[in-house]
Symmetry: C2
Subunit: 309 residues, 2 copies
């Protein structure tokens, strides 16, 4: 693909966004619409319509037509078929849905589709914090945790496109099971959901008004020892998972992105300290860096897929 512009689409659980993106990762024009409609979940056909509407809108704003389209979506995506393999329990209607082909047909354009955290990692790898590196690991900390791994300058897909599924890396073989079947998945501790859970475990919030991860961070910043203990546990569990992935891949750097990571340096410093405490000497020196594209990693990375092909 030698186009200099592409359209990136980021399908999130709350909002769907589209943008025209340059090859260097600059966003030329963008739109955003709610993925839910009046609080109802969107069924697959309606999602296709929503994406088409977003794409047509950015095309109209830029006076361009027929650009290639890269899409990042929540859920497990089968790379070869472009079908959705699985999502959270809320979205059973999507299992097996041929999202890529349906979008290509409706848009009459070339469409690439992959998991949202994987394409966010790709955005950081090509246009963000990961640019200087050929061997990289990306952790995206959101409601859950996703990721992407890069070996020798390329995104690793694996046997069926599911490599980089870092949220379910276990940190406790006898630990509790949060939605997946895996005991002690790192996203049970260090995602937004996990941090809120640790906050509740440490006695924060009320029965009828459960605390959110944002509130745990704010309470910790105000000096509450229970909130600080919850954040410290989250950082430690994430640090151990990062250490395990360092051992598997020996990357040149780790990039941390996603909504939770946007709390920034105090949390990242705790994660770095955990890795420094847990990893063998040769691995400790691996830099652990914040994402630099912020909330746009996924939008940029969705478009970047077009140039990876």
């Amino acid at each position: 693909m030698d186009a200099q512009l592409a359209i990136g689409v980021d399908i999130g659980a709350t909002n769907t966004r589209a943008a025209i993106v340059t090859r260097s990762g600059q966003i030329v024009v963008r739109v955003q619409r709610p993925t839910h409609f009046l609080g109802m979940r969107l069924l697959p056909d309606a999602l296709v319509e929503l994406v088409v509407a977003c794409v047509r809108e950015v095309e109209a704003a830029a006076g361009a037509r027929g650009l290639p389209v890269g899409v990042g979506s929540i859920g497990q995506i089968h790379r070869e078929t472009g079908r959705i393999l699985g999502t959270t329990a809320d979205y059973d209607e999507y299992v097996g849905f041929p999202l890529r082909d349906r979008l290509a047909e409706a848009l009459a354009a070339d469409v690439w589709l992959d998991n949202d955290a994987k394409v966010a990692g790709l955005g950081e790898f090509r246009c963000g914090a990961g640019r200087p590196y050929r061997h990289l690991v990306y952790f995206g900390l959101g409601t859950g945790i996703g990721g992407a791994v890069f070996v020798d300058g390329r995104l690793v897909h694996g046997a069926s496109g599911l490599a980089g599924h870092l949220g379910v890396v276990s940190v406790d073989w006898r630990g509790p099971i949060f939605p997946s079947r895996t005991p002690g998945p790192v996203e049970g501790y260090a995602s937004g959901t996990g941090i809120a859970r640790l906050g509740r475990e440490h006695g924060l919030g009320a029965e009828d008004q459960p605390i959110t991860s944002e509130e745990v961070f704010a309470t910790a910043a105000a000096g509450d020892p229970r909130a600080r203990a919850a954040i410290s546990d989250a950082a430690r569990a994430l640090g151990v998972a990062i250490t395990s992935v360092l051992y598997v891949l020996n990357p040149e750097a780790v990039v941390i992105g996603g909504g939770v990571a946007q709390v920034g340096e105090p949390f990242l410093a705790l994660v770095r300290a955990a890795v420094a405490d847990c990893a063998m000497p040769e691995f400790v020196r691996t830099p652990i860096l914040p994402a630099t594209l912020g909330a746009d990693s996924g939008l940029v990375g969705a478009a970047v897929q077009v140039w990876e092909a």
Copy 2:
């Protein structure tokens, strides 16, 4: 390298072996000598002499000279410099030792050097159970646990050649720390040392005569419930670590080799059951296979390095 024969050398803690190996992985001639001398550990200069003697002996037996030499050694190896970065606490004299260059000089031959478990994985990948696959993970279960990962048909080295360090993948973020700094490393549970430890924890052996992993397996086979519980824990911890690595890399298959794996099917079946219980549906179908080169994975893989260059 287009030679049809190469010499493989496997430097283990107990024995050092050398063999002339064909490109398809057949061993033509082999020798073995103890790595220790009268119970004393060998210092680096003496190790170089030992390897040279083994190489000259197989060359003489085959009437060949000047073949390229691939070496697998215990310890962390820095790939670009061919130096030993670290070994177990017993071998401080080796830290920083330029083993590859010293061997190349003494042998007047091209020498490749890497970690013993990594080259054992390479042997299985090119000439053993891993041959049908392009995306593979190898776990070598010995006194400790080592490994190797393969993406898109190639051995992954990572930033400094330390990728595939699978023995220290954590399965317990609050777990005990066995020799490395990492809490709950899988080798603390499922290596020979780890299985013996679990046996003792379950009440096997005597204070003055600690039980070995071989004895734990034999006792379990005889029906002892404490030994069966120890083996079951080992298989479960290994199954969780394998599951984590499946999530990172989504390989087509996992191969299990090394001395502990030679107990064979009853243990492998427990490991498969643990993965089936813990992994998300799309990952459960990944075959978990026994190594097929047995004790020769490392010897063959050491030679195979020559043809990877």
